[in-house]
């Protein structure tokens, strides 16, 4: 994985050069920290209780979800290339195990918020392909009625709070969701997903400080795909691993591999436990990889090689790895896997059909959903003019 800086840094970092205390070398990696940085060989995550508790059907369902996300996105890419989807399309392909694994350990008072690469999380929380695809097509039947687009999917009824377009902008919102949960005495948590690039935005640090200071049940999940748009981690971030930045605030942190769904479940479940039992935050860094460009319209060959992408696809594809595991466990057969794949493709095609046939919003709908008051005129308490130019 030449050039994939982030993937070479799971081993404990060595002491800061020349760091000395009382005249002797200080080993800055304490015992706890070494424990927190996983190595592939130490643990078989499949054997941990959180994964042992899964029934065969549960496992097949998790695989199914990952396949559905991938087929949905592949179908959306085709539609984008056909000019049916405008704007940006940030694909999650390659990262599926992170959203699916994380969301799979959540309960009724656990919430999710993420950035603009949000299709995977949306489908993982249970949004259906039709409403998602229609949103990409800018149709009235989209989850946001065609007003949000790819970066802004929402489903508050499924505890999913977006879909946010500004890098790092969702980090204080996730904090606020956790704050509200604590205020309402809910034993819940908020998973706030973000990319590696977002770790360099100021509000993230302000949020970490408040999360620790006020003991809020927020879990920052850094999906480290190695690139902040086209800038490799080694060129955008000092200090490694990124999750260790939580340590400055005495926040528990951990690094995990995102290509292993069992491992993702295990670390997220541990963090959710901490949120539920101790009402405390966690920072997780989940090492993953995206196969497509930052957005599909962006050139992808200026900052990484085809070989790098191919190598990840060959050795660490989360779908293939999980499929292989389930076959080894005698949970899944090749035939069943093919059926799942076919069904996901059919569902994705049907969603494209649905989106294509759905009507575009009317010009009048531009003015809906701006203010609660103008959407509920019979309950309006304010007076005066509120819009100054209408269609």
């Amino acid at each position: 994985m030449e050039g994939l800086h982030h993937d070479t840094n799971l081993e404990p970092t060595t002491a800061i050069p020349d760091a000395k205390l009382d005249g002797k070398e200080d080993n800055i990696i304490d015992e706890q920290e070494s424990d927190l940085i996983p190595t592939d060989k130490d643990v078989d995550f499949a054997l941990l209780p959180v994964n042992q508790d899964l029934s065969d059907n549960d496992k097949i369902d998790l695989y199914d979800q990952m396949v559905r996300i991938r087929r949905f996105e592949e179908r959306s890419l085709r539609a984008y290339q056909q000019g049916k989807i405008g704007g940006f399309l940030h694909l999650y392909i390659g990262q599926e195990a992170v959203a699916v694994g994380s969301v799979s350990v959540l309960g009724k008072d656990d919430h999710v918020i993420t950035a603009y690469r949000d299709h995977g999380h949306a489908i993982a929380v249970g949004m259906n392909m039709d409403e998602c695809m229609a949103e990409l097509y800018g149709k009235k039947t989209g989850c946001s009625k065609g007003k949000g687009g790819s970066m802004h999917f929402f489903a508050p009824d499924k505890n999913f709070w977006g879909g946010h377009g500004i890098v790092g902008g969702q980090t204080p919102l996730g904090l606020g969701i956790a704050y509200a949960l604590k205020n309402f005495n809910k034993q819940g948590s908020c998973l706030c997903f973000m990319g590696d690039g977002a770790t360099n935005q100021g509000p993230f640090y302000e949020s970490l400080n408040l999360a620790a200071l006020w003991e809020l049940p927020v879990i920052y999940i850094i999906e480290n795909n190695g690139y902040s748009m086209g800038t490799a981690e080694g060129r955008h971030s000092a200090g490694d691993p990124l999750a260790r930045r939580g340590e400055s605030f005495d926040i528990s942190w951990k690094v995990a591999h995102g290509h292993d769904l069992y491992e993702v479940r295990s670390v997220v479940q541990e963090a959710v436990e901490r949120a539920h039992q101790e009402c405390k935050p966690t920072v997780l860094e989940i090492i993953t990889y995206r196969y497509r460009g930052h957005s599909v319209a962006d050139p992808d060959q200026t900052y990484r090689t085809k070989e790098e992408i191919e190598e990840y696809k060959t050795n660490k594809d989360p779908l293939n790895l999980f499929k292989r595991k389930l076959i080894e466990e005698n949970v899944l057969s090749e035939e069943r896997a093919l059926e799942i794949d076919k069904s996901a493709k059919d569902e994705a095609n049907a969603s494209a059909e649905f989106a294509s046939e759905s009507p575009f919003p009317d010009a009048d709908e531009l003015m809906d959903d701006i203010y609660w008051e103008t959407d509920n005129p019979e309950k309006r308490s304010s007076e005066g003019r509120i819009f100054f130019e209408v269609p």
Binding site: L175, I177, N209, W372, I386, F387
Partner: protein, 325 residues
């Protein structure tokens, strides 16, 4: 009815809404133990406890965003900015998140949050602490903007803003905090957003203002009446968005002359919009060009000698009025 300060009126309004709805919390720098940098929240910590009156670190982006996230979940947070000028480090949270989440979610999410604090020049604190962002807050669809000029309005409007289901930017004025006037008592006293107030009725010229400029307008109207035999009508906008356009147009149609006064900067300021509305809706009623006095188009200066000429003072406003009479 009792005579209390603008500061105490805000305090009363906040206390009543905190009492009325357990989802209301007040958070910001120094609001609790310190009793508020301008003592607006004095006594609230003792009354409502630290889970409702919350001291934050100096992290406007985080606590503004936190309030937005909490409001999405059903809370009604009131965020105090020590100065509205400090909102600039939380711009994304206020103007991207609070203002847009409802729209981008196709109306699935409400954001009943209030951002409040002083937004004014005139106190020798230099450019970074003297911003008046009501114009660009009002330039953001999804946002409501309120600028109370009197103690009664401060109370009635803060209560309405907290009860409002949309995000509200509530802009106070440090120079007005000590202003005393009659304020109605009782939980039921509220003033709807978007309703202007005729401060003084008149027939010869409409002076339209918001915030502290209203008080300048009152002084000018007295002088116009005393020395120039001119009857000026003063309209206090109170809310910038929604805007009481009807009241503006009705007044101009009556007096046939309009003078707009604001402490906002001129370029794309609030009065630029109002000027457009008047010429659009009452062009044929105008007997003179619309006059406008705003803050001088320079960053707010520190020195008293400089700053005293920056804000629209009595002399300048009077001259502008006489110019179109």
């Amino acid at each position: 009815m009792s005579i209390i300060s603008y500061r105490d009126a805000l305090n009363q309004g906040l206390a009543e809404e905190l009492q009325r709805d357990s989802n209301v919390v007040l958070m910001g720098e120094e609001v609790a133990q310190f009793k508020g940098s301008y003592k607006v929240s004095e006594g609230l910590l003792e009354k409502f406890g630290p889970s409702r009156i919350i001291d934050t670190p100096i992290s406007e982006a985080a606590f503004s965003g936190l309030a937005v996230g909490a409001s999405m979940m059903g809370m009604r947070p009131v965020v105090e900015f020590m100065f509205w000028s400090f909102c600039y480090v939380a711009f994304d949270q206020i103007f991207n998140n609070a203002a847009n989440v409802r729209y981008m979610s196709g109306g699935l999410i409400n954001v009943p949050v209030v951002f409040r604090g002083p937004a004014n020049g005139g106190t020798n604190v230099g450019a970074t602490h003297s911003h008046t962002p009501e114009n660009f807050a009002a330039n953001t669809p999804g946002m409501k903007v309120v600028c109370p000029a009197t103690p009664a309005d401060a109370k009635g409007l803060i209560k309405s803003s907290i009860r409002d289901n949309d995000p509200v930017c509530f802009m106070e004025n440090t120079i007005l905090y000590n202003l005393k006037d009659e304020v109605p008592e009782g939980e039921d006293f509220i003033i709807p957003l978007g309703k202007a107030k005729i401060v003084t009725e008149g027939n010869d010229i409409s002076i339209i203002a918001h915030g502290k400029a209203v008080h300048t307008a009152i002084e000018v109207a007295e002088e116009l009446s005393d020395k120039h035999n001119v009857s000026a009508e003063i309209l206090d906008l109170r809310s910038i968005r929604p805007l009481d356009q009807e009241a503006i147009i009705a007044s101009v149609k009556k007096t046939n002359r309009a003078l707009l006064v604001e402490e906002n900067k001129p370029f794309c300021g609030v009065d630029a919009q109002i000027c457009f509305l008047i010429q659009d809706q009452a062009f044929d009623y105008l007997d003179a060009p619309i006059a406008r006095v705003s803050a001088v188009d320079a960053p707010q200066a520190y020195s008293k000698s400089l700053e005293s000429v920056q804000l629209p003072g009595r002399e300048k406003v009077l001259k502008a009025a006489l110019n179109i009479l």
